[in-house]
């Protein structure tokens, strides 16, 4: 029996659920290394991790203090310009939905994960469920896309290095594309995503991002209600603002529909195998679950695709996961086209395994992960 150490936010439901699963399986409770404590130097992993432990890295998200600390950590690494000093980052005040500095946040996460790597090197022999360097890649959409492409995983084509709205429209014209998704390179889930359509004369941007102006400063917020911008100058302002944080631009593939709504799939791979699958249905271009969208019927999708195509689509997810061989689990987002004949991997999420009550072979994600990791260690 293995003892778990979780690097995570102690109040998060992720840790709650994981502890419940451990208890149900008769494991001792995990010891928690709080992100905040590690980032502030109040805790060090060599004092927590013991010989034979399993170390699990959890999402640092949904905790403003941790977000602030990651921005502080990123201050040293961020290029000048669009960045906050450590002092400015330290004094940020919580605002619901505010998109702060995703690139700086990413640099902070990268730095923190390197520190964790250094501390783990001082610990007695243990096993790690997540590849730390792989987490960093998964939080960079362009790098992830490139890695998937190189491995022959079907992905939407991308437009590299988009710097501004003008740059984007010019590249779209050259490529002959009419619609794309513009995503923050380092955003998670639907944060900072714009579905953009243009015919060269007019444009329409459907997005989770809300723009607000305060003292002449443009602020971006994540909104649960989708907004549609039609005004060219507003769209330019929005895209330019996102570009300052770095964007990844991909072709907007049409999604298949079932029961009156389009959908994509979240497929959690565990130990390299496609396991838990959720059909995320939506009547908008965004299908991410926490935009209050509904879950659909996996069997219906499988029937509609046919078993052979379904198996191939799952294999694509497994090939995507194989690009991250040190990661026990990955949350792969898969788009299926309206003909149900082709598909593409949209995202690979490092912490995409929070799917309470979704079962595969009678197990939820956490139980399946604990068992898979135990047998991998045998």
């Amino acid at each position: 029996m293995c003892y778990y150490v979780i690097v995570g936010n102690p109040d998060s439901n992720r840790i709650d659920f994981f502890q419940q699963t451990l208890q149900r399986l008769g494991h001792p409770p995990a010891r928690i290394a709080a992100w905040a404590d590690l980032l502030e130097g109040h805790a060090r992993l060599p004092e927590i991790v013991q010989a034979g432990d399993c170390v699990r890295i959890e999402s640092p998200g949904r905790d403003f203090d941790v977000e602030r600390l990651l921005l502080v950590a990123g201050a040293a690494e961020a290029p000048p310009g669009e960045r906050l000093s450590a002092l400015e980052a330290q004094s940020l005040v919580f605002e619901r939905g505010r998109i702060w500095f995703p690139h700086q946040w990413y640099l902070g996460l990268r730095r923190a994960l390197r520190q964790i790597e250094g501390q783990l090197a001082e610990c007695p022999p243990h096993r790690l469920t997540n590849g730390l360097a792989e987490i960093v890649v998964m939080f960079d959409k362009a790098q992830t896309h490139a890695r998937l492409c190189a491995a022959g995983v079907p992905v939407p084509e991308s437009l590299p290095d988009v710097r501004s709205y003008g740059d984007l429209t010019e590249k779209l014209r050259k490529a002959g594309w009419g619609r794309v998704f513009v995503k923050l390179s380092h955003g998670s889930s639907a944060s900072g995503v714009v579905a953009l359509r243009t015919d060269g004369r007019r444009a329409q941007a459907t997005t989770t991002v809300e723009m607000a102006r305060s003292n002449g400063e443009l602020r971006l917020y994540n909104s649960r209600r989708l907004k549609v911008y039609e005004d060219a100058s507003e769209i330019a302002e929005l895209i330019d603002a996102l570009c300052r944080h770095g964007v990844h631009v991909e072709r907007w593939l049409p999604k298949a529909a079932l029961n009156g709504a389009s959908f994509d799939l979240r497929v959690v791979t565990i130990g390299g195998r496609a396991c838990h699958t959720v059909v995320r249905q939506s009547r908008s271009p965004m299908t991410n679950l926490h935009l209050l969208n509904m879950r659909g019927d996996v069997e219906a999708v499988r029937d509609r695709m046919g078993t052979a195509a379904w198996a191939q689509a799952m294999e694509s997810c497994e090939r995507a996961a194989a690009c991250f061989p040190s990661s026990l689990h990955a949350g792969v987002d898969l788009c299926i086209t309206p003909s149900f004949r082709s598909w593409a991997v949209l995202e690979v999420n490092a912490f995409g395994d929070l799917l309470p009550r979704v079962l595969h072979d009678g197990m939820d994600t956490y139980e399946a992960e604990i068992r898979a990791f135990a047998s991998a260690g045998d």
Binding site: R179, R197, D199, P254, A257, S262, P338, S339
Partner: protein
Amino acid sequence: MAIYEHLQHFDGKPVVDWELGTPLTDPSETAYRISISWEEHEASSQWTDKFAQFLAEPGVEEVTALIVGPWEGAMESDGSSEAATEAIVAARERLPNLKAVFVGEILAEEAEISWIQQSDLSALFNAYPLLETFYVRGGNGLHLGSPAHDHLKTLVVQSGGLDVEVVREVVAALLPALEHLELWLGTENYGATTTVDDVLPILNDGLFPSLKYLGLCDSEIADAIAVAIATAPILDQLEVLDLSLGTLSDEGALALIAAPSIGKLRSLDIHHHYVSPEVVDQLLALPVSVDATSPESAVDEDDRYVAVSE
């Protein structure tokens, strides 16, 4: 909201997506949908080439119902229905039994309704004098001409914002057999320019003697239309009044409740509406079958939306 799924039936027949090399097994009892999928678009396939292959299939002369799905470029807002329309017009000899056509059965994920590029479809009416059912989705670039057609029974124009010119073309049309007229007027934001005055001829002038189903749907002026219909002669001939998908509120609903001829309707469809629960109860008490599902709520008038727009 928008349209996310394909028709399963068209003109009473099951829809089959026709693919290259598929024989026509029951051509007279099947509605064939011809479209350029995302994969075919990526492989540079053309709608007209696929249609030409369809026309070469044995039994094609028995086909009665045809659906035009996305053409190449439709998903990229690049190219209109013009080439497909010309091809169908040119195919009149090969499709002597064609009775039902849908131009632009395209889903929101492929191209939102206001991004579908239509074209001048008027030649279809001349080319197919036996046509009975005509559907079109998308109002951009759309022209119907003012057809004079003896057999057309059903005319449906689905749009997120219809230009008044199309409404005027319909008003000027000569369609003695027309039983079902459905116009989705849409919202000003997406190009709707029709006022209630523009539809008055349909309500007052007996333009379509056979009309039994009138749909003025997805409209921001649903209240004004309902008020006008309440005292219009058209109520004496209709079986179905469809004001669904729009912004109908108490004002329009109360006018309908007070209409002397409202009881002559068989059914009234207002689903997706802004009518208060009390007034919905009054509607349901009418001796008419009423669909008042999908109630919406708005803080004020500016907050009311039609169901299908972008």
